[in-house]
Amino acid sequence: MSNQVATLSAESITLKEETPGQIIFKRFRRHKLAMISLGVITLIFLLSLFVKYIAPYKADDLQVGNYFLPFGAKDLDTGKIHLLGTDHIGRDYFSRLLYAGRISLSVALFSVFISELIGIVVGAYAGFYGGLLDNVLMRFVEFLITVPSLPLLLIISSMLLQNPDLIPIPAPILWVMGKVTLLRPNDARQAVLIIAVLAGLGWMTAAQLMRGMVLSLREQTFVEASRSMGASNFHIIFRHMIPNAMAPIIVDASLGMAGYVVAEAALSFLGFGIRDPIPTWGNMLAATQEFMFDKPWLPLIPGLPIFLCSLSFNFIGDGLRDALDPRLKM
């Protein structure tokens, strides 16, 4: 009898154990706008992933004479439908939009990955070892953060793009990038250069965040415990510091995605990013801006996904910040 009571109460009292992942997801789910944004981003990513099967045309398929076709116009030769019409030189706008998404998102994704990686390594190193190197590095980072970044981005990317021999890119990287963005290796060079420029000027916040985290973690007892058990610096940095400092880095990465999508579009828009036959949202916008007075949908269509991506990634970052570390909330 008493036995039965014990089992009953134990079942009703104890909570089901939750993994940290479940707890975080539960908290993330509470942020409604972030959940909606996650849905939007997933949709855009899926469209970009399966672009080959969805897009009716190739990105650079020209049809002479079929300029400015309206929405849903039917192609007389093939019977295929131009869902969003065609642009000023007769390319299917819907297909271009999808291919552009693939390129814009891959550029942003790679840039985020590389810049966070650099930031983590530099920040952890500077924070852990301190000293002169830390001083010089952080002064440099501080200066780069305060200087207006767009002029720098423009000048570097314009020079790199015009002068392909300045930095030779190994063929395997071009090949991989070509596979990812569905471009010929020679065209993928532009994407690689833009990634390099964006990541090269974008790693500073991650480094500052990482350094701050490492500085505070360095004083924690578990680090001391690990050191007293004979752990090497390398072990401490990679097994204790970096995993524990991941929360702000993940938030920064999500906000960074928003920033890079916009930055890449801005570069292409101003004419110093990826150039025309290759579609990106930014250069589609730039190319059709002049027709906005009589065909305003042409620049609006590529502008919308830029805005959506930027907004969604910002909301996701906000939601992640709430979920991962409530103390970080602004």
Partner: protein
């Protein structure tokens, strides 16, 4: 204090020098440039360009000097000739460059011909520099001559012609953003979790995620293109002032260049910039206000029985504005450099658009000048921030 300032001054000089070196070297790797077209021109027999012509053009652009010498002449205007002490000239034979390089086409390992410089037919010595046109040096605000945008006119003239437009646009924007942004942020922080706060934070979020080029195009569409088609009053979509008089429905004829014309032109770009910076700044104010409202001294003030109005304005706001110093001070370089994207979208003839145009035309002296001045202003802004912080917040000390 003075020791601190002196140390900071030397740091500033170092940073300015390094950024000058960086921008100069960067741009000297740049392709294009004044000699890019010469190779093609010399193909045709009638207009064949001689070696001497090329040497003259190279001399005009100082491309015949080695990089450090060229940089030094660009930066401080020296050396102008041999070192002369008490009537004697030293180092006049020192080789500082190459007037006519020997070039040959070499087959590279990929099987294509590349032109490579292999030697020098005629050297330039320090003595040859006497009588050459020199700038007084960038450090003394002489940025040399523009190459393409306004050919052979001083860059500083070009910059000064664009600066008023940018100052007008960004000055109005700065003042409006302050007037709108600060009260919005405060109100939203004081009424945290109210309906207004939710609406405001969402709007501010949208504003800070909105790419300016997209927003600009939307604005042109809604306030310029559609009303114009519909026959309603519309705003001019671009440029700083009209070329000829125009008629706006219900308002009447607007004279080109008049005050009304200028105001109408500034509205749209200003709206875009204000929207973006208000969303950023008011979010910032809101966060810092929320932070301050949680402090003990605010509770003390309330406990003393002060009215909520006094608590917020006298006790909370003044402290919440401290971190705002950073934002204000760092809008200084922006005020000079202009808004690249917005100015381009609205074809506003300011510094930002000049920068983009110059970059597109390979007019590198202009870019270098703008970059350099921006860097200097940034450094000054950093110093101003640090000094101002100690003024507005006595808890912070120099060290």
């Amino acid at each position: 204090m003075s020791a601190y300032l002196i140390r900071r001054f030397f740091q500033m000089v170092l940073v300015v020098f390094l950024s000058a070196v960086a921008s100069y070297t960067l741009l000297n790797f740049a392709p294009g440039g004044p000699l890019a077209g010469l190779g093609q021109v010399s193909q045709s027999a009638r207009f064949r360009i001689t070696e001497e012509d090329i040497a003259r053009i190279r001399q005009y652009f100082e491309l015949d000097l080695v990089l450090p010498v060229r940089f030094s002449r660009w930066f401080i205007g020296e050396p102008r000739g041999p070192l002369s002490i008490a009537g004697h000239e030293f180092f006049s034979g020192l080789v500082v460059g190459c007037r006519i390089p020997v070039q040959e086409n070499v087959l590279d390992n990929k099987g294509s011909y590349v032109t490579r410089t292999v030697g020098c037919k005629e050297d330039v010595t320090l003595g040859d520099l006497v009588g050459r046109r020199t700038s007084r040096g960038v450090l003394f605000f002489d940025f040399g001559l523009s190459w393409t945008t306004m050919r052979d006119r001083p860059v500083s003239v070009l910059l000064l012609s664009r600066l008023p437009n940018t100052l007008r646009l960004l000055g109005i924007e700065l003042i409006l953003s302050l007037i709108i942004g600060i009260p919005l942020g405060i109100y939203s922080a004081v009424k945290q979790y109210s309906r207004f706060d939710y609406f405001f934070t969402t709007m501010a979020f949208m504003g800070s995620s909105m790419p300016t080029f997209f927003f600009g195009i939307l604005m042109i569409l809604f306030f310029s293109v559609i009303p114009k088609i519909a026959g309603l009053p519309y705003l001019p979509p671009g440029s700083a002032e009209a070329v000829r008089d125009y008629i706006i429905p219900w308002v009447g004829t607007i004279k080109a260049g008049s005050l009304a014309d200028q105001i109408l032109h500034v509205i749209l770009p200003c709206l875009v910039l204000v929207f973006v910076s208000v969303s950023g700044w008011s979010r910032f104010i809101r966060a810092s206000m929320l932070d301050v409202l949680r402090q003990d001294y605010v509770r003390t003030a309330r406990a003393k029985g002060l009215t909520e109005r006094v608590v917020i304005i006298k006790h909370a706001l003044r402290n919440a504005l401290i971190p705002f110093v950073t934002i204000i001070v760092f809008s200084l370089p922006g005020l000079f450099g202009g808004a690249l994207i917005t100015e381009t979208v609205f074809s506003w003839p300011g510094m930002g658009r000049l920068y983009v145009q110059a970059l597109g035309n390979s007019d590198y002296p202009v870019n270098m000048a703008i970059l350099f001045i921006t860097a200097v202003l940034t450094v000054i802004a950093t110093l101003m921030r640090d000094v101002l912080y100690t003024v507005v917040d006595p808890r912070i000390r120099f060290n």
